[in-house]
């Protein structure tokens, strides 16, 4: 088995790299793939929290690198899905504790046992980013429809193109608010794609459910009703190779909105 190593990066912080990682990883595992997630955000780890695995971490990636334990010992298995594993980052160390070569080595070893290796990249373009990208052959660039995030994503794409190891990169647009786009207050999906001229792999709508799911330590893809969860599931299916159309993000209209529309229609007729 030779797994695909995908790095999830963005440049800017707070656009949803870690959330994306947790959800895509869980969705892939639910589809029957063997998935391991590597958190390379040393010193500011969050991925374990999002998955609710914080209390199970004994060994971290630094312990593996410094040969205090074997790689398999450090893999934390998910509570529900046995296909899903996490290699946690150390909280008490900084980015210099792991080198590019060491991460490459870990990815090579994990490739034998897993279908997908998702690398969660820290924000910024310093050592942490270089480490995370080192072992990867594919990349997903997460961005939001804001000028600053798009600018940073552009910079990241430039850096990724310069790397020989990265065979392909795709764009994931996060926290999209269809209502704002409609009223011309937010950059539209097409605008972003045009600026970055990169292939789109998913559009995730803004969802308050993300906040609760983060606090609960439960990825939102496990919630069948959530629109964001569906969108993440579709991204996972596209990664596997299925052809899935993009979701219609128009929010379903409530009863009040329908009544309002009805009455406005009536008054219009009278005139």
């Amino acid at each position: 088995m030779s797994g695909r190593v995908i790095v999830i990066t963005s440049g800017k912080g707070g656009v949803g790299k870690t959330t994306t990682n947790a959800n895509i990883g869980t969705a892939l595992a639910r589809a029957g793939k063997k998935v391991v997630m590597i958190d390379t955000d040393l010193g500011l780890r969050n991925l374990d929290l999002l998955l609710g695995l914080e209390n199970r971490i004994v060994y971290t990636i630094v312990d593996v690198v410094e040969e205090r334990c074997k790689l398999k010992q450090a893999l934390v298995k998910d509570k529900k899905n046995p296909n899903l594993c996490l290699l946690a980052a150390a909280q008490t160390r900084d980015k210099t504790a792991v080198t590019e070569e060491q991460l490459k080595d870990i990815c090579e070893k994990l490739k034998k046992d897993f279908d997908f290796i998702l690398v969660d990249c820290p924000a910024g373009i310093e050592q942490g980013f270089q480490n995370a990208v080192a072992g990867a052959s594919e990349a997903i660039v997460v961005t939001t429809p804001e000028m600053s995030a798009v600018r940073d994503a552009d910079r990241i794409i430039g850096l990724l193109e310069a790397k020989e190891e990265i065979k392909s990169y795709k764009l994931l647009l996060n926290r999209v608010r269809p209502n704002l786009i409609k009223s011309n207050d937010m950059m539209s999906v097409d605008d972003v794609v045009e600026i970055l001229s990169a292939e789109l792999i998913g559009i995730i709508p803004e969802d308050t459910g993300i906040i609760t799911s983060t606090n609960k330590g439960e990825p939102i893809v496990n919630d069948e009703k959530s629109l964001a969860g569906k969108a993440y599931n579709n991204v996972a299916r596209r990664i596997i190779g299925e052809d899935v159309p993009f979701l219609n993000l128009e929010e379903p209209q409530g009863v009040m909105a329908k009544i309002k529309k009805f009455f406005s229609g009536l008054t219009g007729k009278e005139k």
Partner: protein, 356 residues
């Protein structure tokens, strides 16, 4: 006539009283004591205005206890008048009361105190010891920040010894995974449904983990029971260890390692790490990882006002916070019940320190 003190008597100071009833209550309380009977009494009455009848009743009360009023002291002219009618002496008190000599007794008391202390601590030269401890502590505090963050050697050797077992467990688990995977690939649509939460399986998993944890502990632990003699010995040894005293909140990513005990006045937030060869005491919320007795002392203890630790480790035993309790942050307004974690029957047991 000024009198500083009274022979064979005592002074009752009720100058703070505002009512006659308060004076009578206080007097009756004092005169009820066996030592206060058949004595001469001086009353400090303060500024309360007392009528003749009230003063008479006070006098009668004192006399009912076989005592008599030597003189009274008051700032109220009204009371002075009533006192003159009853032929009670009014005087001013001086503050110069000669101190009784207790020196002989004091030495005795000191000696007995020392004896009692020796009984408790079992050492004659406790003073010298504490001084030495202070020295160690200072040294330790100087060294502490520069200390590299590194789990203690004991853990390393332990992990190496348990590696073989771990590997075998891993292999079996992976084999199980493969079986499940093949099922999944055959029937992908069903697999999504079955992947849902299964409490029974979860419990099985947990039990399995528990078993594994016990296996990893090794053979030498089998013989050791909760031995009282050993407990006392280890308690004394823990007392002798230097103590690192930290008066701030330990934040995420901060790690403290000590060869002795650690006391933290403040919280230890989630993501922090405390590793001590002795005991750990957190005067606040313990939310991070705590490892007591890291050199192998199974009698080490972890105490906190509020136990919310992600993981507790004592010597080579390990406990984690249950998954169903997900409280990342505790309200500081909650009432705290101090708790203590120790090893009991090869597992970590958390109990309340004070049952009430």
């Amino acid at each position: 006539m000024d009198k500083g003190y009274i022979e064979n008597g005592f002074i009752v100071d009720v100058s703070n009283a505002h009512k006659t009833s308060e004076i009578i209550y206080e007097l009756s309380r004092i005169l009820d004591l066996p030592d206060a009977q058949s004595k001469k009494v001086c009353l400090k009455l303060g500024s309360v205005d007392l009528t003749t009848t009230e003063l008479t009743s006070i006098k009668a009360l004192v006399e009912s206890m076989n005592s008599e009023i030597e003189f009274i002291n008051t700032s109220s002219q009204y009371t002075v008048k009533s006192a003159e009618e009853l032929n009670i002496e009014v005087s001013v008190l001086e503050n110069k009361v000669p101190m009784p000599e207790f020196n002989g007794d004091q030495e005795k008391v000191n000696r007995e105190l020392e004896k009692a202390l020796d009984k408790i601590f079992g050492d004659e030269n406790t003073e010298i010891k504490t001084f030495a401890q202070e020295k160690d502590l200072k040294k330790l505090q100087q060294d502490a920040p520069a200390e590299p963050v590194e789990p203690i050697e004991e853990i390393k050797t332990e992990s190496i010894s348990s590696e073989n077992q771990m590997e075998t467990i891993d292999k079996s688990e992976f084999a199980a995974d493969k079986d499940e995977k093949s099922e999944n690939t055959v029937n992908a649509s069903v697999s999504i449904e079955t992947a849902d939460f299964n409490p029974a399986e979860e419990l099985k998993d947990f039990n399995k983990e528990l078993e594994n944890a016990n296996k990893i502990e090794g053979e030498d632990i089998e013989d050791i029971d909760y031995n009282l003699d050993d407990l006392r010995k280890s308690l004394r040894e823990t007392e002798k260890l230097p103590t690192l005293y930290i008066q701030r909140t330990l934040r995420s990513g901060q790690s403290i390692t000590s060869d002795g005990n650690i006391v933290i006045i403040g919280d230890a937030n989630p993501g922090s790490e405390i590793i001590a060869k002795g005991d750990i005491t957190v005067w606040g919320i313990l939310g991070g990882i705590a490892h007591a007795g890291s050199a192998g002392n199974r009698y080490a203890k972890i105490r906190a006002l509020k136990m919310n630790a992600i993981q507790l480790r004592i010597a080579d035993t390990f406990a984690r916070r249950p998954d169903n309790i997900n409280i990342p942050y505790i309200q500081k307004t909650d009432t705290f019940i101090p708790e203590e974690a120790c090893i009991y029957k090869k597992q970590i047991l958390i109990h309340k320190i004070h049952e009430s």
